[in-house]
Structures are given as structure tokens and as C-alpha cells.
Amino acid sequence: MKNQNQPGLSPLGSFAFLYLSIIGVWVFSFPREVVRSSSYQGVWVILFTGLFSLVFFYLTTKLTMRFPRQTFSSYIPEILGSKRNRWLGRLLSMPIFIFFVIYFLFVISTNIRIFGEVLVSAVFHNTPLSAVIIMFLLTAIPAAMAEPYLLAKVNLFLLPFTLIPFLILFYAAFQRGEWVQLLPIFPIDWSTISQAIITVLFAFAGYELVVYIAAHYQNTDKAAKSHCFVILGVTFTYVVNYLSCLSVFGMDELKKLMWPPFEIAKETYAPMLLLERLEFALLIVWLVNVFACVSNFFMVLVRMIMDIYRFPSKASKVVTWILVPIIYAMAIYPKNFMSLMVWKGWVTMGHLTIIGINVILLVIAIIRKKKGSIKETGVEMK
């Protein structure tokens, strides 16, 4: 009865899942960081970072497509180990798994912390940060326990709502923006761009989830196309975000603003709407984005741990509840905003490392001619 509609991720579902995983809380500080690292060449930096990510995302997709219906916790030991000594593969892949777990924990906790910081600085001046964070985490718990395809459905459902902030940004750019602020665009200074790409790359972190989620695709062959659209969509979103902030504030002011999109909403005046001030509306709608991002990462983290230790599916509750205090502690740990930014730097490093790991794994898989077949289902399809 339960298996009647093939419960996997459709291409649209995987698009929503990955898109929302990438666009998390990073959007808030993104324009500032772009301007700081690349001065007037922001658009090029974003576009090139998008291109860069596209290439690596494609390579990661290639890797997952070699092992359809298998999560990385089953194919990494296969790539590294040999058929005789299965334990060797598991032993060699253990450090990678541990790295993944730590990286995911970092992503989740930084996301929650940054969103909490934004909330506290914007509205809840008297509410303790920990209360905001706990509330967020508690809501994410049922998401973490959910089946992957159900969470993809939630993502798909939320996707239209996440476009609302961009409507506000568009509106603001038309109302208060000036074309002159966007200039100059040329000449292209390659050395600045190449350095800036490394800094901006953090905003594209999130498509790593594909190494787990690809196992749950209905159709692995169509994955590459929807993945391309993910990166295109994300790049477009960031460009819109950046350009509208730049057109409203100009370069010099943008460098000093903490959360530029948020400031834009403050500047905007919408007499037609029922609401007088839009900034908190923007923030609340953005909550949807952050929530989707955090719950996606959280769910994959839980599933990953269960896969690695081969827990039965009932254990997801236990694993989730064990992880909650850890994430909370990590989210609350950075003493102030500066140390939080250091953590964010680590996330970027982690992202780069994971890109590297995936590429190396792909190369090894190609050299050793390791390939999974559909018959060998690593994941039990539910």
C-alpha cells in the first residue's frame, strides 16, 4: 500500500532540495562580502564562481551517477577498498565520513547562529539568542527525522515562497536604485577575481548533499540537467541580490553594511501594501529559506550517520535527539560575531576540501573502473 507511487525525488524535487540547500542564510551577508573581496568586479566574481561551481557540481554528479541508488557511505568504501578486504575500504573511508559529519555540523550550526544573530539584532532585542536558536532547532527536528522524499516535497512546496524576498528586492531596486551605482564593470582584473572566488565560494556550499540525496532519485540519468539548473538558479539569485543592493547603496556604503538586503527592505516604502515596513516581513520569509537549508543538511546528517553505522531506520529519532545538543552547543559557542565569521571561513575551507575529495574519488573510480549497477541497491527504497 505504501509503495504505490514510486517515492523518490523527481527532477523538480531535487532542484528544489539542492537550490534551497545552497541558498541558506548566506544571502544576508553576501553582497557585502562580494564587494569587499572584489571591489567593482562583483558581477564577474559571482558569475565565475557559478561557473566554477558548475564544473565541480558536474563532476560530483558524474561520481554519483556512476553509482546509482547508492549513497556515498556505500560507494566510498567500494572505491577505496578491494573486494577481498572489505574492511580496508571502510577503514580508509572512515576519515572522509568523519570529515563529512564535522563539516555538516559546522554548516548547520553556523546557519542557525547567523540567522539567530540577524533576528536578535533586528527585532528580538530582549530575547536571549539561545531561546531563538533552541526554537529553530526544535522545529527542525521533525524535518530531520523525515524521509528524504518527503523533505524534498516540503522543499518544493516552499520554493515559491522563497521568491517573495526577491520581489521585494526587485521593487526596492526599481524604487531607489540608480544605474550609475552599478558601474564600472570593466576592465576585468583577473588576479582580484581569482582571489575573490575563493572568498565567495562559501555561498555555493550546499550541493554536497547530492552525494547522499542522489541515491533517492527516481531517475538518476536526468540528474545532470536539473543540477545545472540549480547552479544557474543560484547564480541568478545571487546576481539579482548583489545588483539590487549595489544599485541602492553604491559600493562604498555597501562595504559597511552588515546585512545589505535587510537594509534595503528598511529603505523601501510600499504604500500599496498593508504593511508599512517590510524588513521584518523579508526576514520572516527568509526564515523559510534558512529553515529549508538547515533541515536538509540536518536530515542528510542523520541519514548519513545511520548509514555509516548501519542503524535500523527506527534509530533516526535517537540519532536526531543526540545531535540536537551538539548542534546547539556548536551554534552557541562562538563568543561574538567576529569568531562566528572565523567559523564561516572554516565552512568555506570544508567546502573546498569536499570538492577536492569528490574529484579525487571520481578519478580513483575511473582509474579502478569501479561502477555500481542499478541492481545493487545500496539504499532500501521506501
Partner: protein, 548 residues
């Protein structure tokens, strides 16, 4: 220590024993009393047994008489005074048997039983049984039973007939345009109404008897060829698992067969309207009717369909679509307006336009409570009024409700207990929750409103939004007989969107909703019929022009 453990073991053993005994008692109550007892040749013995079994009930009628005025041929008729149609028993059983219109009867050659069965008893529905349990069951359902001396069997004459309510208008699901007939407490009447609307030989009606003591008739309806067989199978399986002493309403069954117990949302739809039942059967669903209640259960259900009124299909599609939009808006108002009020007043006053904010602040100046207390007070009193107005006798009910709300609201504002804005909020919320065509859907919204208000009081809009996320996660996980509860939105299927927020005209609705996995997907041939109709109309017009 060891002693304690032993004791506890012994204690547990005793508990187990008691539990077992209770179980046995439950099983014994009904079935074992009669058991496999067969009917005796002696009338007196049978009658005595039945009388004793039914505890010498005052409403049990036993009539002893001689067949064809022959004192050697004793017979007895037993029936319940209030359950059976006395006309049938008297005119077509007792009178011919007693030989009012005397027939020639060759005493030696004919068998008395065969004779009575084939000629004398003139009722339409007669069957012969040899088990006492069957006889008692039929007697309790309103049939008349006939014993004849010397025969170890019983004749059961269908004479069920009791006074029921006439066909009335469904009170909870009124429509402006559309049939006004409602289902009836008597199952057979209801089935008749459905059969009359759906003259399909594929309509299947399966009967069950449920309730160890009530022996309630329950019927399962579906259209074979449309409905997915797995759904029928699953419903049947779940129905078979029910083992309870009484089934008085469909909710007894609903709570047994729904997929998940802990959810405020209704996982099965119920309706009082035969036309709605037929419409759902045609979408590939299953209906469950229970004798004794006019409410039919429909399974599987999806969330959005609780916001569809039967009238949507009886009215012009533009109007229907507009009304659906109104209902969606009213859903959100009923769900979140009080919590939004709390959030805006206590956390984000800067978001509302300043003039309104000033006015609201002026209204709230005299209010001594926090906004959450104010809102809870008002919401609770409205809920009390609502509950009271249902119990209030007849025509006074709604009047008292309105007067109560107006008077109390006005007095509370004048006394400075609540702000005028709060009264507006509560009024809008209450009215909006009545815009929901389904009572079970509306009541779940009423329930969820309160946690949302508390969340809003603690975290403002942030809390409300997190509450919505939680609700969404919950809704996505719900299933009704294998059908995703948020269909057709959450697993998105473009062809199903024709009958969602907007309803397209009937000629365009070629397919049945795909999320019920119907075997027969098409409602009508693909546009061809429509096209030919259009063409026909055009040619007619042309001809008309030519003749003119």
C-alpha cells in the same frame, strides 16, 4: 529484594489472568450465549429458550395458533413489537396460516412445512434456518420468526419496519444550488438514494455487521473499474480488524481505520449528501455508510478537498473558482489572524501603518492585560458561545449566539477589558472559520489556532512562521490510505491542478484526479465530444443564418 521481585511477578501474573478473564468475558457475552444451539422440534422449548435469552422482554410478542384450524398443528410466531411491520406479520403470515381463506389441503400427502413455505406464508422475503443464533439475530433486527411443531427449523419472515426520519435537508452542508436531499439514518434508504443517482452495474455494495452487541449494518461502496483495487482491499482489511461492542456513528469506524491517530486533521471525509458520495465514488474513492447515522465516510481524503463545496461543481466555474479563493483566504484568517494580531501588537508594531497603529494603541490604552491574555479570553468566550448556541433549544440558538457575541463584545470594549481591534479580529476569525464547507476541517483549524497564538506571544512572527513550518512538515507526512494528504500540491501533477484553486469548466476536466490512482482515468473522451458539440452549434447557427 528477591521476594519483591517474586511478588511483582506474581502480581503481574494475576494481572495477566484478570486480563485474560476479561477478554474471555467479552467474547462470551454475545456469541457463547447462544453458541451452536440448534432449533428443537418442540415449539415450547424454543419459545421458552428465546424468552429466557431475551430476559422476558415486555416488547417481545409471541403468538401461538393452530395451522388451518387443526389443533394438532401448533405454530408460534415471534416478533418484536416495535421493530417489525405488524401488517406483514398479521396479513401475510398469521391470517393465511390460520386458514381464513381455506385452501384444499391433502393432509396425508403434503408436508406441512413445505406447504406453509410455498403457499401459506405470503410474505416476499422468507428464509429457512436451523441455528438458533441466526433466528435470534434476525428477530433482533426486526424480522418475524415462525416455528412449527415437529420441525427442527425456523422460518424467518422479513418484516423489518420501523419509524424513521423522513428525508431531510442536510443541515451542515447546505447549498444554494443543488440537490437538497440528505442521507438518512436508515441505511437502506441512503443506499437507495445513492443507487438512484449512480445506475452503474459496477457499483459494488459490500455489507458487514459490526459491533458485538449493536450488530450494526455497515456497508462499503465503490465503483469497480474506477477505484484502485488496493484501496478497497486496504479499507476492507482495516474494517475487518474492528472488534468493538458497539458502532453508533461513522466516527467509531473513522478512528479505527485512519492512518494516524495523533493528528488534528481529519484523514477521512464525511458527508451527509448522497450527491457528494456519488461524486467521490466517481473520483475513485470508497464510501462507508453506517446504519443509524446519516453521515457517510469517504476514503481516501486529501487536505484540499475539505475546502471544496459540492456547490463548486453546480455553479458557473468562474464563480466557483472565486469562492474557492475566498475559502483559502478565510482558512488563513481563521488559522492565523489572532496570532498575527498578538505578534503585531507585542513585537512588531512598526510594521503596521502608523495611523492604524496609533488607533490600535489608543484602543489598547485602557486594556489591563497582555495581548495574548486578551486574545485568549476573547477566543475562549467565542468558543463557549459557539458551543452553547448548539445546545440552545431550536430557534433561540443562533439569536443568543449573535446577541451574546455582540452584547458581550460591546460591553467588554466599553468596560475597557478588551480593545476594539481585538473584537474585530475575533469576529473575523469566527466568521472565517464558518466559511469552511466541511465541519471536521473547520474544527481542526479551531484547534490549531491556540498553539499558534501561544507561539506568537513568545516569538512573534518568528514563532508563527516556525509553527507553519511544523504544520507543513506534519501535513506532508500524513497519508490517507496511501494517498499523500497534500496532493495534488506536494507531489505536483499539472493535470490535477485543473480542479484545485480554480475549477476549470466541466468539458475540460477530462481526467479523474490522478492521486487516487483510478483504474479508469478518463471522465470523458479527450475534447472530441466537446469539439463536436461546438461544431454542431456552429453549423446550426450557420443554417439559421442561411434560412433567415
Amino acid at each position: 529484594m528477591v521476594m519483591d521481585m517474586k511478588k511483582s511477578f506474581r502480581f503481574r501474573g494475576a494481572k495477566e489472568k484478570k486480563k485474560k478473564a476479561l477478554e474471555q468475558q467479552f467474547a462470551k457475552k454475545i456469541e457463547d450465549k447462544v453458541g451452536d444451539r440448534l432449533i428443537s422440534r418442540e415449539i415450547a422449548e424454543n419459545v421458552e429458550y428465546i424468552k429466557k435469552l431475551l430476559g422476558e422482554s415486555g416488547d417481545l410478542v409471541t403468538r401461538e395458533f393452530y395451522i388451518l384450524q387443526d389443533p394438532e398443528k401448533k405454530a408460534t410466531v415471534i416478533y418484536f413489537d416495535e421493530l417489525s411491520e405488524k401488517q406483514v406479520t398479521q396479513n401475510f403470515v398469521i391470517r393465511p396460516l390460520m386458514g381464513w381463506n381455506r385452501v384444499d389441503f391433502d393432509k396425508e400427502e403434503s408436508d406441512l412445512w413445505e406447504m406453509s413455505f410455498h403457499t401459506l406464508v405470503q410474505a416476499g422475503e422468507v428464509k429457512v434456518e436451523t441455528e438458533m443464533s441466526k433466528a435470534v439475530e434476525c428477530l433482533l433486527s426486526g424480522d418475524t420468526i415462525l416455528f412449527i411443531q415437529g420441525y427442527a427449523k425456523v422460518m424467518i419472515i422479513g418484516s423489518r419496519g420501523w419509524s424513521g426520519r423522513g428525508v431531510g435537508e442536510p443541515r451542515a452542508e447546505a447549498v444554494v444550488r443543488g440537490p437538497r436531499e440528505g442521507l438518512n439514518e436508515t441505511l437502506l434508504f441512503s443506499l437507495g438514494m445513492i443507487r438512484r443517482r449512480l445506475k452503474d452495474p459496477d457499483l459494488r455494495v459490500k455489507m458487514y455487521t459490526m459491533g458485538k452487541r449493536t450488530k450494526t449494518l455497515v456497508s462499503l461502496l465503490y465503483v469497480e473499474g474506477i477505484v484502485r483495487p488496493e484501496i478497497v482491499e486496504e479499507v476492507e482489511n482495516r474494517l475487518r480488524r474492528i472488534d468493538i461492542d458497539g458502532v453508533l456513528e461513522t466516527n467509531y469506524i473513522e478512528e479505527f481505520i485512519r492512518d494516524q491517530t495523533w493528528t488534528p486533521f481529519p484523514l477521512l471525509q464525511n458527508t451527509e449528501r448522497p450527491d457528494v458520495v456519488v461524486a467521490h465514488l466517481l473520483e475513485g474513492k470508497v464510501a462507508i455508510l453506517v446504519d443509524g447515522t446519516p453521515h457517510a465516510l469517504i476514503a481516501p481524503a486529501v487536505f484540499t478537498q475539505f475546502y471544496y463545496s459540492p456547490e463548486d461543481y453546480y455553479q458557473a466555474f468562474e464563480i466557483a473558482s472565486f469562492l474557492r479563493l475566498i475559502r483559502v483566504i478565510s482558512f488563513f484568517i481563521a488559522l492565523s489572524l489572532p496570532s498575527l494580531y498578538i505578534a503585531f501588537v507585542s513585537f512588531h508594531p512598526e510594521m503596521i501603518p502608523s495611523k492604524l497603529q496609533l488607533a490600535m494603541a489608543a484602543g489598547r490604552a485602557t486594556v489591563p492585560f497582555a495581548s495574548i491574555i486578551e486574545a485568549l479570553l476573547m477566543e475562549l468566550s467565542v468558543e463557549i458561545l459557539r458551543e452553547a448556541s448548539i445546545r440552545l433549544p431550536g430557534p433561540i440558538g443562533p439569536t443568543i449566539g449573535i446577541v451574546g457575541a455582540l452584547v458581550i463584545g460591546d460591553a467588554a470594549v466599553t468596560a475597557g477589558l478588551v480593545s476594539p481591534a481585538m473584537v474585530i479580529v475575533v469576529g473575523l476569525t469566527t466568521i472565517s472559520s464558518y466559511a469552511n464547507p466541511s465541519y471536521s476541517g473547520a474544527i481542526s483549524v479551531r484547534l490549531i489556532r491556540f498553539p499558534l497564538m501561544i507561539l506568537a506571544a513568545i516569538f512573534g512572527l518568528y514563532g508563527i512562521m516556525l509553527g507553519f513550518m511544523f504544520l507543513l512538515l506534519h501535513l506532508v507526512q500524513l497519508r490517507s490510505f496511501g494517498v499523500p494528504y497534500l496532493a495534488p500540491y506536494a507531489p505536483l501533477n499539472p493535470s490535477d491542478l485543473k480542479d484545485t484553486l480554480i475549477r476549470v469548466p466541466w468539458p475540460w476536466m477530462n481526467r479523474r484526479p490522478s492521486f487516487f490512482y483510478p483504474k479508469d482515468e478518463r471522465r470523458q473522451p479527450k475534447e472530441s465530444q466537446h469539439d463536436s458539440l461546438e461544431k454542431g452549434r456552429q453549423t446550426k447557427n450557420k443554417k439559421g443564418e442561411e434560412t433567415q
